[in-house]
């Protein structure tokens, strides 16, 4: 049995089609990434899968339970961490967890031990009796995730779990997600952080304007766009003339400045490296580093969502 099965799911808001005929499955034990630009239909999909919003048509099941017809049973097996940290600022961390445990029917005998364990895992146990309004954004986020895990769910929905957080919170949250997955928890993760999806997800779905553009493992998706390999150069000196000259090397399709580096996009990295090195030697410019890069998941995302349309004809960057 799959953790999630979605069949021809559609949601209309008036004339707007937020989710359009979406079909996918998430097997038990998988970390499934759901990527898409703002307004693509990610949150609407999560709201349907968690039974908050009813679909216009189509079905979704959670461990075999239809989310519309068997809502309470389906919800009992999931933990939900929304994009906004929806915790009660006027309650302490402990009381927030106790409230969540009661809503999820966690037995009285288990509530306190589970809450203690989660607060220690997320490194906020020392502040358990403090009201949450004094917490940092990262601590609030960690508490929100802890509240989503209070019923030890076999399926966890995480909406942008690490968006805008400090490094410490990011590290803790990612480690917890990995540990949970090792224990068999299925994770449905939406994120804007494509590198995070690349590192953590077994498979990703890319959704745009309510339609799924692709579903596969990150590595397989990258292979579909081999044409966006790149040569990355870090140079001691960088000027508009140098960039212009490198942009005119044969087989360079595009050139972009990324921080203190230049990326030369090409289908033939070997010949571009040779030509670029010849040019640099001739001009007595020492390269600090030279790397060849395969296509990133971000590039797959940009291609599939059409976000590169505005940059298609771009050749040089100054």
């Amino acid at each position: 049995m799959n953790a999630i099965e979605v069949t021809t799911l559609t949601k209309h808001f008036g004339s707007l089609v937020a989710v359009n005929n979406v079909t996918f499955t998430v097997p038990k034990g998988e970390i499934f990434g759901y990527l898409g630009p703002n307004g693509a239909g990610k949150t609407t999909t999560i709201r349907i899968l968690t039974g908050i919003t009813a679909p216009t048509s189509g079905t979704a099941t959670i461990f075999g339970h239809d989310i519309q017809r068997e809502k309470l049973t389906a919800r009992s097996s999931m933990g939900i961490v929304p994009e906004t940290s929806n915790i009660y600022d006027d309650l302490s961390a402990w009381k927030n967890l106790m409230f969540s445990a009661e809503l999820y029917h966690v037995r009285k005998s288990e509530r306190e031990s589970r809450a203690t364990e989660l607060l220690k895992t997320f490194e906020i146990y020392d502040r358990k009796d403090d009201k949450v309004h004094g917490f940092s954004k990262g601590m609030k986020r960690r508490l929100t995730i802890a509240m989503g895990l209070v019923n030890s769910p076999p399926l966890l929905f995480l909406d942008e779990p690490t968006s805008g957080l400090d490094v410490q919170s990011n590290l803790i949250i990612r480690q917890v997600i990995r540990d949970l997955n090792e224990q068999g928890v299925t994770v449905f993760l939406t994120t804007h952080n494509i590198e995070e999806a690349n590192l953590m997800c077994h498979r990703v779905a890319i959704i745009n304007r309510g339609i799924i553009a692709a579903i596969d493992s990150p590595e397989r998706l990258k292979k579909t766009i081999q044409s966006v390999q790149a040569v990355e150069l870090a140079l001691e000196a960088m000027s508009a003339d140098i960039i212009e000259a490198l942009a005119h090397i044969p087989h360079v399709n595009d050139i972009r400045r990324e921080g203190d580096k230049l990326r030369l996009y090409t289908e033939d990295p070997g010949s571009v490296v040779e030509a670029a090195m010849a040019y640099l030697r001739e001009k007595h410019i020492r390269p600090i580093s030279v790397n060849t890069l395969g296509p990133s998941l971000e590039e797959v995302f940009v291609r599939l969502t059409g976000l590169d349309k505005g940059r298609k004809n771009e050749k040089t960057v100054t």
Binding site: T50, G51, I52, T53, A54, R69, E70, K71, L72, T73, R75, S76, I80, P82, T84, N86, I87, Y88, D89, D90, L91, K95, F99, S100, E102, L103, Y104, H105, M147
Partner: protein, 250 residues
């Protein structure tokens, strides 16, 4: 899906958890006290000052409108705030039914209002040496009235807004006229026939009537009618609340 006894047990636990959460967070919010206590008190003073009516004739009305304003003020404050902070989604996505949500929110209104009304009753008894005809009817009547008005507040709080003022404005469009058509300050017998007809569809009519019985032993519509009508309003508001929360959250 069949609604089992286990579901009912879980819903009642969930409702009680929501009630306790509301008790902890919202009972000290200033706008709840302003709307729930000070407003009915000033309303009473506006009517009482300059009139020589004995206090016993004013107390039932005061307690009835206090029940109306205090019980119906918790949810119109707490729910829009929770929509804004997104904590309301936490309630909507939990494994409890909409019934548990509506019930839990309404019970918090009931408890808040009941404690205020009892406080007023005790204060009245001490300060004015009020004699009561039936303390039991009075306590039951206050509880029923508070629960009815708490459900009314929960129904209005279903309006999908994050702005407390919007819900309060809508609610006051109903609460304020109720005071004038329910025999609180203007006796039912002094009203024209159309006024008496309209008063029959006001829950405040039955609330003030049952409280008057508790104080004075007199009732205009009958004790059984008062109890039946208040229970009927509870059921109607529960049904409407369940429908609205379901509709507005899909």
């Amino acid at each position: 899906m069949v609604y089992t006894l286990e579901n009912l047990k879980n819903d009642l636990h969930g409702a009680w958890a929501i009630t306790r959460k509301d008790l902890t967070i919202y009972y000290l919010k200033p706008n709840i006290y302003m709307s729930g206590i000070l407003f009915p008190l000033f309303m009473l003073l506006a009517f009482a000052v300059g009139r020589n009516a004995p206090i016993i004739t004013l107390i039932p009305g005061l307690i009835a409108i206090t029940a109306l304003f205090s019980a119906s003020s918790i949810e119109p404050v707490s729910i829009p705030i929770e929509r804004r902070t997104k904590t309301f989604d936490r309630l909507l996505s939990a494994p409890i039914s909409i019934f548990a949500l509506v019930l839990g929110e309404s019970i918090s209104g009931l408890l808040f209002s009941y404690s205020i009304c009892i406080l007023m009753l005790v204060a009245g008894a001490i300060l004015y040496h009020l004699s009561l005809v039936s303390i039991l009817i009075l306590l039951v009547g206050i509880a029923l009235s508070c629960f009815t008005f708490a459900n009314l507040g929960t129904v209005f709080a279903a309006y999908p807004t994050e702005n407390v003022g919007e819900v309060m404005s809508l609610l006051n469009l109903v609460r304020l006229p109720l005071i004038f058509i329910s025999g609180v300050f203007i006796p039912l017998e002094a009203m024209p026939s159309w006024g008496r007809a309209v008063s029959a569809i006001s829950p405040l009519t039955y609330a003030s009537d049952i409280l008057r019985y508790g104080f004075e032993g007199v009732t205009h519509v009958g004790l059984v009618t008062d109890i039946v009508m208040l229970l009927l309003f509870v059921i109607i508001f529960q049904l409407i609340g369940n429908l609205l929360y379901k509709k507005f959250n899909e």
